[in-house]
Symmetry: C2
Subunit: 421 residues, 2 copies
């Protein structure tokens, strides 16, 4: 397909999304929930259809030699289908964020001023070949009163179309415009290029996927992007840490899951506790086959540790590898995090009140924790209900992005004939 | 100066701002207020110095033939100097937004999750030749815990340098880094081009000025921009409006000041009340020499009215001109606003409960009002204390942007050795 054609397809899609966004913005909570529940029902009913479409995608991906981790993420199981449906039901059960009025106060002039939560408008989601994202993203955007344009990885094309059919059935059942959720059905990469520059029709882009994809989108987009770059997360063990908690948190933060963005990648240890703590935690990590790379002082305490290079401090391993550094005090730990971290999630383990307070205030990351595993950085754990991603940006939304991050607030003013003097 | 040189100057400035931002982010409210009060004192003391520097700028601008409205904005008076100082004192009196923790709740896992308000980091302000913005912007950025890079219009260069000297004296007095506020002192336009792409050193750009300047910055920036485009504001007079309030609000919204962004540019009138309302309000407006441009139905009711063109509906006159349209109902009014408005400020005049509610919910503008003049859309009137601008964006900040808009929120998690199961 030539690029002129893609341009006009995407413009048409954008225009339709903008129109639908005006309708969905004013839809009642009851109508939106009806649509979500009908989508879940259609997905459960069509399980076999979805699995068959997915089997086609998987077969094609294998002939193309897609790497096995990606095939894993592409593959839908019966359990996966049930969990997509359950996800939509959970979104239906969340309170409607749209229209919520806060801080409505009388001003000296006599007017009342407050803020009302409103949808953003049209949201473009760009993601890899993970079919479950199609249902999740559609549900979250809809509940927040937005229209969505979904562009999943081309390897999941048939799966996404099958899920989209269920989503659109749900919209129809509730009497909402089908264009509220549109799935881009061309595999052409130019579609992404078009989507991220349609300022007139798209209000925000949420890319989900590898760092490379996200960096490329952020650098080419003319539409604002809520981006999730890497997670180089730190656990700092303070001299006044409780040893038992320190070991348990460091172990959990590293080994509970290796491939997630909130997994610890660097362990910082106060020099005053290193001798007690480091050999003990290393024993546990080595038993789990975690490779340890440390600075000279750390290597001196743990014979199995290899020397870390400058590059290690800035690496998101997403693997059973951990870099370890011994620091003189909390200030050095905070400076290390500011220098090498990715402002994602960092935690301090300490029983010291002042240092807990200092760490919370001074570490400039989207989640800052005291005596808790970095693995808690997650929309469900935070009570947001569900998340569309984790933002490493500072503007608009920082950290796990739930329904609230897909909305904005406008000012409302109530008067009784008030004029400005 | 060649562009390589400007590049390296701006990089140095950016690096220094980033360093200063780490210090100012953790400064106490008392220290920041001490700096603000010392700045105000220095400005009052140096009144004659500031006026002399400004006189040089004004003289030069006149020889260059700067238009008189711009010379007006450039000119500092004794009263203007006093009001800059008072502005800084007012900012000192505002509560410190940084570090405020909200929504701290226990989760089922046992962790406590909340949000802490934090500075954005480094803010770049680009503005025209209005010296008072230098003090305002410096004060607001500082109070919100940010470093600032200020780039004012080159015609105000000497005035800005003189004000910057007072600002830096204040920082010194409080023991804060002088680089917390830096004024770009090259008149070269390439400096702006550099500033808006320094993603590493600048977290957000706030442009203040004409629509052309802002559009150019938004289209070239790689750093996020909080932008304020035009204000095509509407007043809709519903069939159930109280006639007296309707006339008073329409008059005030148009004529209290012609050149502001929250001035009404289009008056929408329900057909059922047009015969009573339109001749009455027109009489008042015509007496104030406001030019009226209407659709056919409006022209039929007011002989002095000229026919409006399609272009009128999308024009921000910033002048004593008003476009007038008669609509069949509230839905047509809302559609007109969605089609031609700029999502700035719109108001409905009605005594009808359901229509007031509908208008508040469905009009997608940064300020939506009932029975109040559009002229109230302003940071001071809203109780924000002061504003850095009015955002017509949807993401991050919408409407008047005060201290809160110059901050973000991070998640904080408090545990007691909690790990994820």
């Amino acid at each position: 397909m030539d690029n002129t054609n893609i341009h006009s397809i995407m413009q048409t899609l954008g225009r339709a999304a903008r129109e639908a966004s005006r309708v969905i913005a004013k839809a009642s909570a009851a109508t939106k929930n009806q649509a979500l529940l009908a989508m879940a029902e259609a997905i459960r009913r069509d399980e076999q259809v979805l699995l068959a479409a997915n089997a086609n995608d998987v077969a094609l991906a294998k002939t193309k030699g897609l790497e096995s981790a990606m095939v894993d993420r592409l593959t839908l199981t019966s359990k996966g289908v049930a969990s997509m449906a359950a996800g939509l039901e959970q979104i239906a059960a969340l309170p409607d964020p749209v229209g919520a009025v806060t801080d409505l106060n009388y001003r000296p002039s006599g007017i009342q001023v407050g803020r009302m939560r409103v949808p953003l408008g049209v949201i473009g989601i760009i993601y890899e070949a993970r079919p479950n994202v199609t249902a999740d993203a559609a549900g979250l955007c809809l509940k927040a009163g937005n229209a969505a344009i979904l562009r999943g990885g081309s390897e999941a094309m048939q799966s996404n179309q099958a899920i989209a059919a269920c989503v659109q059935e749900g919209l129809r059942v509730a009497g909402l415009p089908e264009n509220t959720v549109q799935v881009v059905d061309t595999a052409d990469r130019a579609a992404v290029g078009e989507l991220i520059v349609m300022q007139k029709y798209v209000d925000v882009i949420v890319p989900r996927g590898g760092k490379g994809l996200i960096e490329r989108i952020a650098s080419e987009a003319r539409v604002p992007v809520i981006k999730h770059l890497d997670g180089v997360c730190h656990v700092y063990i303070d001299v006044r840490a409780n040893l038992e908690k320190a070991i348990s948190i460091a172990d959990n933060a590293k080994t509970q899951r290796y491939g997630t963005c909130n997994t610890m990648e660097t362990l910082l240890v106060h020099a005053g506790i290193a001798q007690q703590f480091l050999p003990a935690v290393s024993k546990i990590l080595l038993e789990k086959a975690v490779e340890l790379r440390g600075d000279a002082a750390a290597c001196a305490l743990v014979p199995e540790m290899q020397p870390a290079t400058e590059e290690d401090w800035q690496t998101e391993y997403l693997a059973p590898i951990l870099s370890v550094r011994i620091v003189a005090d909390i200030d050095q730990a905070i400076t290390h995090i500011a220098t090498y971290g990715s402002q994602h999630t960092d935690t301090i383990v300490t029983e010291d009140y002042a240092r807990a307070r200092q760490f919370l205030r001074e570490v400039d990351s989207s989640s800052v924790m005291v005596n808790a595993s970095t693995r808690f950085a997650d929309g469900f754990e935070y009570g947001l209900g569900a998340e569309i991603g984790i933002s490493t940006d500072k503007l608009h939304a920082r950290g796990p992005v739930g329904l609230e991050g897909l909305t904005s607030q406008k000012f409302i003013v109530l008067g009784d004939g008030h004029i400005r003097e």
